[in-house]
């Protein structure tokens, strides 16, 4: 018996080592291949992607489909963390300039059935599309507070018409608690996928998962540690170079943290303050064809009442603000009367989409989400920025927690803003 056990242990060791040897070797980053469309006239447009069907919408994200349409996802329900929160999707057609009807991709109960375990609430969805055209949708679910979150994965081979059963990713040794997603995945040269994640139980720090083509986790890497950094935004600059910006939840001065890798992600520098002020809120960004970086964020240390576009031409060392998508800082500290708040909301609705004739529904929805238990205030957060194959940039963000706002602009518009900012 004793010698049989010894033989079994040696065999098990050999099998485990063989399995590890079969894991994908390290690979270079796959930088974006999107080239800027030249010669076009400046274009900037905005509208609402969601229709106000639910009281709360939050954490939008999106992916470009094979025909150039944009498929967006967000979570929607009566309030954040409620059992009725579901993941919605809608498709934007750049030819008709319309968003489709909102569809429910998955719910708490469907996720629970799929993963064969209790789920209390759903959270951030994050999609991507692989080289074979398959859509991957990662989304957060939790059994308690957000620190008990785990990540689920669904896939679609028909452009989001139908989705596979969700599968739970195992990413943490402590009851598989505390893994969340917010920022876009990226690909390595060998087709494996990099998924920026973050942890927020006891500590708060950014991490990077690597998944093989079948969606199995093959490695995990820490981008920071401690209690103050989260939601890493990976900006791939070249096959070997990447910058990760992270939301910072520590004491003032509040500056986004950044880490960098110059060896295709094998090693990352220690987290240090960037030049970007940020009030502990989510950021979004892309790397442009010329290597410059473009980031959408709340560019101030205090509140989410403004949302800006900032650019860096020197790998994140210095940043310039190019544009304010929203800016309601003039209302800070003021006791805004209900009438004044309504008036301001109507102005913002018209600014978003001048064709909206009846803005009362919007005003009512915003008052419902932004005037509960405290003075009314505006909130623009959780941006998600992509560059489509045509070169057009698409930005989605949560607009007062009641709507998802869509902004699009092209390279010519961006160049004009850059010239102005010089």
């Amino acid at each position: 018996m004793r010698y049989f056990l010894l033989a079994a242990m040696l065999s098990a060791f050999a099998m485990a080592v063989l399995k590890m040897a079969g894991q994908p070797a390290p690979s270079l980053f796959q930088p974006s291949a999107i080239q800027a469309a030249e010669g076009a006239n400046p274009m900037f447009a905005s509208g609402f992607a969601s229709t106000g069907k639910t009281r709360l919408v939050h954490a939008p994200s999106m992916v470009e489909l094979s025909d150039g349409r944009i498929m967006a996802f967000w979570f929607a329900g009566s309030r954040e963390g409620a059992a009725d929160v579901v993941i919605h999707s809608s498709v934007y057609d750049p030819h008709t300039i319309n968003w489709s009807e909102e569809k429910t991709v998955t719910s708490r109960l469907r996720t629970q059935t799929d993963v064969h375990r209790y789920v209390r609430k759903l959270g951030n969805p994050v999609p991507t599309r692989d080289a074979a055209g398959k859509l991957w949708l990662f989304y957060v679910s939790a059994v308690g507070g957000w620190s008990t979150s785990a990540v689920n994965l669904m896939t679609s081979v028909d452009e989001g018409e139908h989705w596979s059963r969700a599968r739970r990713l195992v990413t943490s040794p402590f009851l598989n608690f505390s893994t969340l997603v917010k920022t876009p995945p990226f690909f390595y040269r060998d087709g494996t996928l990099g998924l920026p994640i973050y942890h927020e139980m006891l500590g708060k720090f950014g991490e990077l998962l690597r998944l093989d083509k079948s969606g199995k986790v093959v490695s995990k890497q820490r981008l920071s540690y401690g209690r103050q950094t989260l939601q890493p935004l990976l900006l791939i600059e070249s096959e070997r170079d990447a910058l990760a910006l992270m939301r910072y939840s520590g004491p003032h001065p509040r500056r986004a943290r950044q880490v960098a890798s110059r060896d295709d992600g094998k090693h990352w520098s220690a987290a240090e303050p960037s030049e970007l002020p940020n009030p502990d809120s989510a950021m979004a960004g892309v790397t442009l064809a010329d290597g410059s970086l473009l980031v959408a964020l709340n560019h101030n240390e205090r509140m989410r009442d403004e949302l800006s576009l900032a650019s860096s031409n020197d790998e994140g060392r210095h940043w310039r603000v190019l544009y304010h998508f929203e800016d309601e800082r003039q209302l800070r500290g003021l006791s805004v009367s209900p009438e004044a708040f309504t008036e301001n909301t109507m102005r913002l609705v018209k600014k978003t989409d001048a064709t909206i004739e009846n803005s009362e529904d919007y005003v009512s929805a915003v008052r419902d989400t932004m005037c509960q238990g405290h003075p009314c205030r505006f909130r623009f957060d959780y941006p998600y920025l992509i560059q489509a194959g045509s070169g057009t940039f698409h930005l989605l963000y949560t607009w007062n927690r009641a709507y998802i706002k869509h902004v699009q602009f092209n390279q010519a518009w961006l160049e004009a803003r850059r010239s102005e900012a010089k």
Binding site: L5, V17, M20, Y118, R167, P173, L175, G203, K204, R222
Partner: protein, 200 residues
């Protein structure tokens, strides 16, 4: 079609629910046929759906899939409770529990971000972990602590064949439920030893 790894995960939790059920009451004092009947009921009960989800599914939502070591220890506990058989000498159980508590005390704070280094990462693709396990297993084998050898062997085997959804070897070796259970077991044994000493 339910995935194989969902079945194995649910079974690991169901087993723990069975053990909890057997230890909760006075089952041990019942006659053997009643104990076996209780075992059969407790094996089936956690898998029956309640409002679309089994009891094991509800528990699994919180504890996740339990490690192979937990499964082995749970089966031994069930055997002792139902069949009144101490399959493994107590010193081996104490050695395993001690090892688990020591490992968990170092591993979890680091894995939860207390240090820049994350030992959990080793479980994906570092030969260091299976090599360390082999050395540990050989030391245990020489000391005739065969329970530790069995747990290490079964964990590495289960990892190799993809028994659970996890692709990390650590998840097959240890889990927080096991660490807490081992700590309670050691504390209880220590208390009993102190009481006995006082009596003498």
């Amino acid at each position: 079609m339910i995935l194989f790894t969902e079945v194995t995960g649910l079974l690991s939790v169901a087993l723990a629910v069975v053990a909890a059920g057997l230890f909760a009451g006075t089952v041990s004092a019942w006659k053997r046929p009643y104990r076996v009947a209780a075992l059969c009921i407790l094996v089936v009960a956690p898998l029956l759906p309640i409002d679309g989800l089994s009891l094991a599914g509800y528990v699994r939502g919180v504890v996740g899939d339990l490690s192979i070591t937990t499964v082995v220890v749970t089966m031994l506990a069930i055997a002792s409770r139902v069949f009144h058989r101490q399959v493994v000498p107590e010193k081996e159980i104490i050695a395993l529990c001690g090892l688990v508590v020591l490992c968990g005390t170092i591993f979890y704070p680091m894995a939860l971000g207390a240090t820049p280094y994350d030992p959990y990462r080793m479980g994906y693709d570092s030969y260091c972990l299976p090599t360390t396990l082999l050395l540990l297993g050989l030391a245990a084998w020489l000391k005739r602590l065969l329970l530790i050898v069995s747990c290490i062997t079964l964990a590495m085997l289960a990892y190799s064949v993809g028994w659970y959804a996890s692709t990390n070897l650590w998840d097959y070796l240890i889990d927080p439920v096991l660490v807490v259970g081992s700590l309670f077991y050691l504390l209880r044994r220590a208390t009993q030893a102190v009481m006995e000493k006082r009596r003498h």
